[in-house]
């Protein structure tokens, strides 16, 4: 099982969501973060310039079974891209195990609705 973390532009969220849905990824979690990166935008607050390079981004956290990994990454990659600095990153890491709280199912099963896939 893999965890895919993607830091994307807030404005690209709807498109990424749609792309993920089309790729069969129906479940994920996301929240607002601030990213510090190259796309600095200088701010001025009451006469003080402060180079806050921090810009609002959305973090997606998606847990997928291994064979879903590729299409997840590709969907995000494609949908979140604008080609300009600041598009964000995708990170993949290993997850040992998963549980579905509602049923107590463990492992890969926790990630899909059994009846639906069969």
């Amino acid at each position: 099982m893999k965890k895919v973390e993607a830091i994307i532009r807030k404005t690209k969220f709807e498109e990424v969501k749609k792309a993920l849905n089309q790729a069969g990824i129906e479940f994920f979690t996301y929240w607002d973060v601030r990213g510090v990166g190259k796309d600095r935008e200088e701010r001025t607050y009451r006469g003080i310039n402060y180079d806050t390079s921090s810009i609002e981004r959305t973090m997606l956290s998606i847990y997928v079974r291994d064979h879903f990994l590729e299409r997840t990454v590709t969907s995000i990659q494609t949908a979140a891209k604008t080609g300009e600095i600041g598009d964000g990153k995708i990170f993949v890491s290993e997850i040992e195990t998963a549980y579905r709280i509602r049923t107590g199912e463990k492992g890969g099963e926790a990630l899909y609705i059994k009846e639906e896939e069969e």
Partner: protein, 405 residues
């Protein structure tokens, strides 16, 4: 006239002025509440600038164009810095102040409609134009002794359903079309872009309602004498019932249409009802106010849907539907519900026709002049912010400051 009467009238008009002034805050809250976090600072600034620029320009130029010596029924004779007396009863400064806050209201309506993608400089220039001559000229026709007030059956727009609200709405319509929809609003289908804070929007509506008592009842410009006392009381009642009916009817429509009582459209309903009774608040009965409010509230919801989804004009706060549809219908219905001269009260069609003439000609004037002004501004500084700025928010890129930290 006795000096004590003058004093009381002055007090009345000045306090009405403060109430109408606070409507600027109401508009700012409604507009920021119904848009996104990233543009909050920008909208606030637009609302402050509307008022500040309007206060200065209307005093210098607009006031005389509107109320100065009538020139061919079209415009008042320009008289910079207005040291003439355009009102016989209350002091000049009181009348000017009252008219200033009205002018600023017309201007501020546009800021919501074109929110979230308009170039800040472009907006300021347009806002200047509206208080400088667009609003004063049609205002002259209606309130300044111009041709609409000289019709055999004079056009009746007591507190400005047309003179103020429709003017703002027509200009909004032109602006919305010329600036174009926000990114991501229409891609194949019409998408919802929910406002970021309905609590703000609701407070804004309460404040607007509060200010509307000054807007309508202040337009009597007098409070002394039994007739005036009765009239301003009557206006309070019709104004309030109009707002209440607009809220209830819009709520009912959303409940039926969308299965659930919608929040932001109900808020718009209250405003639409208030806009609706503004033209006739002095000549309609309380029941008439309820009926007008109800009709306007219902139509407004359909108008929002039609404009947004069929016409695909992106008006984030519903300004065109609230102030335009509300303003037109409200003005027209005076011809039907006016207890003197209205169709329902055996007054025949003459008032209705005058109302129609007023609505149409003001519409044409504002559309035409706004179009030209927007075109010029587009050439000068461009109407729209770059894609990147719109995506990341106008606050950050245009002001270098964010509203929430």
């Amino acid at each position: 006239m006795e000096t004590i009467s003058i004093s009381l009238d002055t007090v009345w008009v000045l306090l009405a002025t403060t109430l109408v002034f606070l409507m600027q805050a109401g508009f700012a809250l409604v507009e920021t509440g119904l848009t996104r976090t990233k543009n909050t600072g920008n909208i606030i600034m637009k609302n402050f600038l509307d008022f500040a620029i309007g206060s200065v320009l209307f005093w210098i130029v607009g006031y005389s164009l509107m109320f100065g010596l009538d020139v061919a029924g079209i415009v008042g004779f320009p008289d910079f810095f207005s040291d003439n007396s355009y009102n016989k009863t209350i002091p000049d400064a009181a009348f000017l102040m009252f008219q200033t806050v009205f002018a600023a209201t017309a201007a501020t309506i546009v800021s919501g409609a074109v929110a979230e993608r308009t170039n800040f400089e472009a907006y300021i220039l347009f806002s200047a134009a509206i208080t400088l001559f667009i609003y004063p000229i049609s205002g002259h026709w209606i309130w300044g002794g111009g041709w609409l007030s000289q019709l055999e059956t004079p056009f009746h727009d007591f507190a400005g359903s047309t003179a103020v609200h429709s003017v703002g709405a027509w200009a909004s319509l032109v602006g919305v079309i010329m600036v174009g929809p926000r990114l991501g609003k229409y891609n194949g289908k019409a998408n919802a872009i929910p406002g970021h804070n309905l609590g703000m929007a609701a407070l804004g509506v309460f404040i607007l309602w509060f200010g509307w008592f000054g807007f309508n009842a202040g337009s009597q410009l007098a409070a002394s004498g039994e007739e005036n006392a009765k009239m301003i009381s009557h206006i309070f009642l019709t104004t309030n019932l109009g707002g209440a009916a607009g809220l209830l009817s819009a709520l009912a429509v959303t409940w039926i249409k969308y299965k659930r009582p919608g929040i932001s459209l109900s808020l718009n309903g209250a405003l639409a009802g208030l806009v609706g009774v503004t033209a006739g608040c002095d000549v309609i009965s309380p029941s008439g106010a309820v009926l007008i409010g109800t009709i306007v509230g219902i139509v407004m919801v359909f108008a929002v849907e039609f404009i947004d989804q069929k016409l695909r004009f992106d008006d984030p706060v519903g300004a065109i539907s609230v102030h335009g549809v509300g303003g037109i219908l409200g003005t027209l219905l005076v011809g039907i519900f006016a207890t003197k001269g209205g169709l329902l009260y055996n007054g025949g069609f003459s008032l209705l026709i005058s109302q129609l003439i007023g609505i149409v000609t003001v519409g044409i004037w504002v559309i035409a002049s706004s179009f030209v002004v927007f075109k010029i501004i587009d050439k000068l500084v461009g109407l729209r912010v770059p894609k990147r700025v719109e995506e990341e928010g106008l606050d950050l890129y245009e002001h270098g400051e964010t509203a929430y930290n």
